[in-house]
């Protein structure tokens, strides 16, 4: 609850800090604000479920943990921006403010009690993302991506709203408990099913599940890399937290109706994400498809909807976010270095021979790729493990088998990067990375390894 108020206010403060002569204050200020929000977030830890604003928002340990993941991810990503120092066109104050505002949207999605809050949160987050995607004004790809994202997103929002309207028509309530109570009476109206389907479509679009994924590769590739990282981690985490909240709080009564729909989408997402990723030459595009495939893994847990699901999604989001930040974090300085000699190179070849002169970056990259591929000793392994566990508990073995086959496919494209970094000859010069940037990368790597060895540290928290 506090982070919503804090960041709404501090975002405005950041906006006005932009008028200061020196832009150097912006980065530390934003980081400080995020830290304050993080502290504010955990003030309410272990106090049970608290309802705010007349049944609009709820706070409990699960939502706080999701908030925490979002905040820590945002902290790492902001720390990697280096204040946009080397870019005259950049508007750092606006970027930071928009990021902080978008976090408010994410929190609203994570803790919504009322569908209106879900919609508001989603819009705050999405609109911020449209702007950030197009923030590189001189880059045609960025412009195209922003427009594409905006148009598609607007459609999805429309569908979501229509779904919410139908739900209201059927149940006469916007609140999660109201919908649940309506379903509890038995014999729900057909409007309810239609509404649920439309709401699901709207939400699945935001988390880029197939067949609503078409925007993802272009937008991820076109957006400035730092904002791609933001999109890939925070939007996805918040989106899945919201989906989980919606389905688990309101729709468990008609599980038999929606699980098969979700299972089909899951399979489709896994197939599309993994198989198309194999054919990519651009690392950034590969990460886009990999993010689709990870949406698929998260959907497995949602499809299963067991008591384990909340922990699975939480852990998976954490592992995925940290590893993704690492991957983009290595790409940014690498692509920048290459840009000085010509065009930014984001292909696999750019990583050739990375390990020779940049052992740290290569190691960070390796750990993140291993984690994304779900190899033991990394947090990603346990993420997959818990997700598969919830599906096994529900007894959907065929879904598991598809997921397993696709994990094996995933290894192929993640290892291409590792092989390029360690085993191919390349001319990558030593890349200078700011000490603070290094700290972020190393911390993220340590988190990945720590939770890979002792996942109990994390699962014990919630």
């Amino acid at each position: 609850m506090y982070p919503i108020i804090l960041l709404s206010f501090l975002g405005i403060v950041v906006l006005f800090l932009g008028f200061a002569k020196s832009k150097a204050i912006l980065l530390p200020a934003t980081l400080l604000f995020l830290a304050v929000a993080l502290v504010g977030n955990f003030v309410e830890w272990n106090q049970g479920t608290i309802i705010y604003f007349y049944n609009m928002l709820a706070v409990n340990n699960l939502t706080l943990a999701f908030n925490g993941i979002v905040l820590v991810s945002a902290f790492m990503i902001v720390a990697m921006t280096r204040g946009f120092q080397d870019d005259d066109e950049a508007q750092p104050a606006e970027y930071y403010a928009i990021m902080l505002f978008s976090l408010v949207g994410a929190f609203m999605m994570i803790g919504f009690e009322n569908l209106i809050m879900l919609f508001l949160g989603l819009e705050i987050l999405s609109v911020a993302m449209y702007v950030l995607t197009g923030s590189d004004k001189r880059n045609l790809r960025s412009n195209e991506a922003a427009l594409k994202y905006f148009l598609m997103g607007a459609f999805a929002t429309g569908i979501l709203l229509f779904g919410i309207a139908l739900l209201y028509g059927a149940t006469g309530s916007f609140t999660l408990t109201g919908i649940q109570a309506y379903i509890g009476q038995g014999n729900p109206s057909y409007l309810l099913y239609g509404g649920l389907l439309l709401v699901l479509i709207g939400m699945l679009f935001k988390v880029s599940a197939a067949p609503f994924h078409f925007w993802t590769p272009d937008v991820y590739e076109g957006a400035p890399t730092i904002f791609t990282a933001f999109m890939a981690t925070i939007v996805k985490t918040a989106g899945f937290a919201a989906l989980f909240r919606l389905l688990s709080h309101s729709f468990t009564g008609i599980y038999d109706y929606w699980w098969i729909t979700l299972a089909v989408i899951t399979v489709l997402t896994l197939l599309v994400g993994n198989i198309i990723a194999v054919y990519q030459d651009s690392f950034k595009r590969m990460l886009a498809y990999s993010s689709i495939s990870h949406a698929g893994y998260l959907l497995i847990a949602l499809t299963a909807m067991t008591p384990q699901t909340e922990n699975s999604i939480l852990f998976y989001s954490m592992a995925y976010s940290v590893a993704t930040i690492c991957a983009f974090g290595v790409l940014i300085p690498l692509a920048r270095e290459k840009a000085m000699t010509g065009k930014p190179r984001e292909t696999y070849e750019a990583f050739n021979g990375l390990a020779r002169n940049n052992p740290l970056l290569a190691f960070v990259l390796t750990v993140s790729m291993l984690s994304l591929a779900g190899i033991p000793l990394t947090a990603g392994f346990w993420g997959k493990f818990f997700v598969f566990g919830s599906a096994a508990e529900r007894g959907i073995i065929w879904l598991l088998v598809v997921a397993i086959l696709m994990s094996a496919v995933g290894i192929y494209y993640y290892f291409r990067v590792i092989m390029a970094a360690y085993m191919k000859e390349g001319d990558t010069a030593e890349i200078r990375v700011a000490p603070f940037y290094k700290i972020v990368l190393v911390t993220a790597t340590i988190i990945t390894l720590l939770f890979g060895i002792a996942p109990g540290l994390f699962t014990g928290l919630v």
Partner: protein
């Protein structure tokens, strides 16, 4: 408590090697491996075969899911821990003659691998087993992919994807079993033993586990990664793969597959044995055609592991005991042979039989060691291979005479390809490559002598090891046949 020491010592030694290594990396690594060996031998002296699992420990790992970090040592584990801890110092020592780049990383990876291997062989928790099973793959992948031969990228990649693919099936099976356990779920391997599963479910589980372990060993038809990987890897990695990692598959059969799916064995056991026997004959025949020595030994290893699997699937006391003692013997023989091939390669720069010859005239001592290792592999009485192969064949004969006869081909064909290799490389006129063949160095002898001693020890007095494993095997068999 000894078990946790066994897992931690190589890990710590590996970290020390990695961070403090520098030019002394190999010394630190050797010291660590020897300390581990000493601990294992100490555990052996304290070990009581009749007492079942001992030296155990258990910590909560993921409390919420009932997954614990638990390990202990019983007869089967003890044997394999001894094999691992005995071979790793020799493997480290065998790398002394080479100047690998980044020695600190190289030796650290070997020690990390040892830690994971000991973990696989001792753990009593199914998920921990899977964890170590996978983790063991990572160091050896990097060893092979970074320090390997020309084609290493493609080959190791295939190897990695293949094995991960297989073990993912095992993961599904384990997760499934975990949710079958009563109450608040447990992932102890023994808890899986007690499950009452339907024959149909056991059938599925059988194949999930079988694919995982068959790829690791490898069995026909999952072996296609193996010859290339063995050939392209640097010799220490090949030794780790063939000498120890292959045993993970057989160990998995004994520890996981048989006791969890005994009913499926009635239904599918015959298929598994037939596949194993096909592997024996197929591997042997291909080995005869090989001109590259490393490849030849790779195929011979493929043939031998087929026999071990057949023995295990026969679920007879002879077959199981034979498989266990053969794991020990094969580990020692194959490491010895790969090392000798490495010695030849380092001096002549070739492994092709056509380019070699006449080495006996230059270094008789090497040919003597080579002969001993070969005879161990060919299963001459009084050498290590004999005991294992005899028991294994006895076990397979008990199961089915025809299969036993087919499996028996391994001895004849083995003699054909191995002695041919010996003759082509050691006898005859010297070639351009072997003219200036140098005498063995001290460190090379230091590797070969312990191996030779073990070949004879196992061949002459196998009871040391057979008695160690017998109570555990008996208990296991009683469980399977009930």
């Amino acid at each position: 408590m000894l078990t946790i020491l066994l897992i931690l010592i190589p890990l710590v030694a590996g970290l020390l090697t990695f961070f403090l290594g520098g030019s002394n990396a190999k010394i630190i690594a050797l010291a660590g491996a020897l300390a581990e060996l000493a601990t294992a031998v100490f555990a052996w002296t304290q070990f009581d075969p009749a007492a079942g699992a001992q030296f155990g420990f258990q910590y909560d790992w993921i409390t919420a899911s009932g997954i614990s970090f638990a390990a202990s040592v019983d007869g089967i584990s003890m044997l394999l821990v001894l094999l691992t801890t005995f071979l790793v110092p020799l493997i480290v020592l065998s790398a002394f003659g080479h100047n690998y780049q980044n020695p600190a990383t190289f030796f650290a990876l070997i020690l990390f691998m040892e830690s994971a291997l000991v973990g696989v062989f001792t753990t009593t928790d199914a998920f921990l087993f899977y964890f170590f099973f996978e983790v063991a793959l990572i160091p050896v992948y990097f060893l092979a992919a970074v320090w390997g031969g020309e084609n290493r990228l493609k080959v190791t990649f295939k190897f990695f994807v293949y094995t991960i693919f297989g073990s993912l099936f095992m993961l599904v099976a384990l997760v499934y079993l975990y949710y079958q356990t009563p109450g608040t779920h447990s992932s102890a391997i023994t808890a899986f033993y007690d499950l009452q599963l339907t024959p149909a479910a056991q059938g599925w589980l059988f194949w999930a586990f079988f694919i995982a372990f068959a790829i690791k060993m490898p069995l026909f038809p999952f072996h296609t990664w193996q010859p290339d990987t063995y050939t392209e890897s640097p010799t220490p990695a090949t030794m780790l793969l063939a000498g120890i990692m292959l045993k993970m598959g057989v160990y998995g059969l004994i520890r996981i597959l048989l006791p969890i799916t005994p009913l499926a064995l009635n239904q599918w056991g015959a298929v598994a044995i037939v596949l194993s026997v096909i592997g024996i004959v197929y591997g042997s025949i291909i080995a005869i055609q090989q001109r590259d020595m490393k490849r030849l030994v790779a195929y011979s290893s493929f043939a031998h592991v087929g026999l071990m699997a057949a023995g295990v699937f026969s679920t007879t006391l002879n077959g199981m005991q034979g498989a266990l003692i053969q794991m020990l013997a094969h580990g020692i023989n194959v490491v010895g042979m790969f090392f000798i091939i490495d010695i030849i390669f380092s001096r002549t720069n070739t492994r092709y039989l056509d380019h070699l010859g006449g080495i006996t005239q230059k270094t008789p001592s090497l040919s003597v060691y080579f002969m001993i290792m070969l005879l161990g592999s060919v299963a001459l009485p009084l050498t290590s291979g004999f005991v294992g192969e005899f028991l294994l064949l006895a076990g397979v004969f008990e199961y089915n005479n025809w299969l036993g006869a087919a499996a028996g081909l391994t001895i004849i064909l083995g003699a054909v390809y191995l002695l041919r290799m010996f003759q082509k490389s050691m006898f005859g006129a010297t070639s351009v490559n072997t003219e200036h063949f140098q005498e063995l160095t001290l460190s090379e002898r230091a590797v070969l002598i312990p191996l030779t001693i073990m070949v004879f020890w196992i061949g002459i007095y196998p009871s040391t090891f057979l008695e160690m494993t017998e109570p555990t095997v008996n208990q296991l068999l009683r469980f399977i046949h009930n």
